[in-house]
Symmetry: C2
Subunit: 317 residues, 2 copies
């Protein structure tokens, strides 16, 4: 049997946890002191935080500890990318029940470190404590490299709506797992370890994108945030979001609606953005709709009648 | 009856939560987007994170929601001060059960905002989600104003050990509350809302302090971190830590040991530091011992035989 966190004790646990964290030139002072110090060459720092709770955002029988680390890091790193910034560092706070295997926390640390490394950033600090429910809070920092932050508020009538990355995959994977299946691996894997198009965020910022958001709650819900913040209406051209055969087959087998996964499924951490109509979309981006005067989000010119996304205090659907 | 977070729903809850947060000139972009943007004029940013769990770090019948906000903010702001930095911003993530009164989360937000304002910083972003146990993770950012970070590793034999702020007060308050009493108010209040000597951290850095730490786990435990990181021994001169009469009376009434509170009680967020022997201590700092060659921490030249502090995965004491 693996030792539990209670058996290992806080200080040895922190040692075992932090030895997984790498470093980068941006890390001025890493874990082990009261606080970390990270380079912020732009003179401003981008910062966001996101909390994952066991049973709500992950299940230990569906995801490995490393998967949870990847997922928690990705959710935050994608938020940094959605501002047009380059991630520089992560901090992590974990509450764990006393009987949690220390190995599980090590797996979490390795997943966090690996996902950070995929963006050339590193985990620089954190906190561990006892709690009844496994809870992981990640904070990400990023650098704007001299550019203005890309907000949700810059979309203009006439803009092209574009998407980088994929939607619906994580929702499909979650649906498959919740019915007791473990395959197809491509969909289940997408739920376990999202693959946000980090570089696409920075590329969009370099090309003068008008508005951008991380698709974490579902495409329609998150486009709703851009529409509200920008005072515009957004129409999604559904045929421009083709449904992959694997997903279509899975939806048929489960009696689910693949179109709904693609339009309302969260957690893939695609990036949605609006560009001026005459802009050339950067690599990895494709046009999926248009921005006009008005309010709200439509699909093929019509209101979407199903649920649009995710309310973190509502009952699970 | 107050509405619960489930009744209010995530998006309205976030609105009610964030309207308590003020702003400062350092806030380039506040709450409401994928991430916040905060000034980092030094070109580096100091960052730390700390998690408070209900039942472990606070109880709703012992502390108001605003108290918990003050406490969570103070724990992080003191870590920034201990690096010799000036706090600039906080981020907060909260997991709350569905039946949590929305009012409680508003109280938490107001406490966080007020404590941030006491350091001229502001809350710039966050996350809310459902969880079985109320859990609050705060991340703090800070600016070094061109100075080098003050770590735990710079203490040298011959240094003067100094303290800013107080120790034992929060431990006394916690002891009083856990025996079912609510007074004396000065001690209970110290537990509910610690008063870290924020400015003393920056002042020490300006005066060329050698090593510094936030006393969050207990004076002896935290001095142990300085001793280990610096490769020195530290002796505390117990008489230089006088026990206030209120504390002595409370200890007698409860059959507790006030000396133990002062030496091992955490959560007051005093700052402990070592200065060169010939340094003039900045205002608010007083000498409480000496640094020598060797290892470990002693009190009046002898090993302390009781518990030294706090292990977050151990049973409560």
């Amino acid at each position: 049997m693996s030792e539990t966190v209670a058996e290992v004790g806080e200080f040895r646990l922190i040692e075992r946890f932090t030895r997984h964290f790498g470093t980068t030139p941006a890390v001025v002072l890493g874990p082990g002191d009261d606080a970390a110090v990270v380079a912020a060459p732009d003179g401003r720092v981008v910062a966001c935080t996101d909390m994952l709770v066991e049973g709500r955002h992950f299940r230990r029988d569906w995801c490995s500890a490393a998967d949870v680390g990847h997922k928690a890091a990705a959710a935050n790193l994608a938020d940094i990318a959605a501002m047009g910034a380059r991630p520089t560092a992560l901090l992590v706070a974990v509450a764990a029940p006393q009987d949690t295997p220390a190995e599980w926390l090590e797996g979490l640390a390795s997943g966090l470190a690996a996902e950070a490394a995929a963006t050339s950033s590193a985990v620089v600090g954190g906190d561990t404590t006892r709690g009844d429910q496994l809870t992981v809070t990640v904070t990400a920092l990023g650098d704007l490299e001299g550019r203005e932050p890309v907000t949700r508020a810059g979309a203009r009538p006439g803009d092209t709506l574009a998407l980088a990355g994929r939607t619906g995959w994580a929702a499909a994977g979650l649906n498959i797992l919740s019915r007791g299946f473990r395959s197809p691996g491509a969909l289940v894997g997408a739920y376990r370890r999202p693959q946000p198009p980090y570089a696409a965020g920075r590329d969009a910022a370099l090309m003068g994108v008008n508005a951008m958001i991380d698709v974490s709650d579902g495409l329609l819900a998150d486009l709703g945030h851009i529409a509200a913040a920008s005072g515009v209406s957004i129409d999604v051209d559904a045929p421009s979001l083709p449904i992959p055969e694997t997903m279509r087959n899975a939806a048929e087998a489960l009696g689910s609606d693949a179109r709904r996964w693609v339009l309302t499924g969260g957690e893939d951490h695609a990036l949605a953005a609006t560009f001026a109509a005459d802009a050339i979309l950067p690599e990895g981006w494709r046009s999926i709709g248009t921005v006009a005067e008005g309010t709200g989000v439509t699909v093929n010119g019509r209101r979407w009648t199903g649920p649009t996304g995710w309310d973190h205090f509502a009952e699970s659907t």
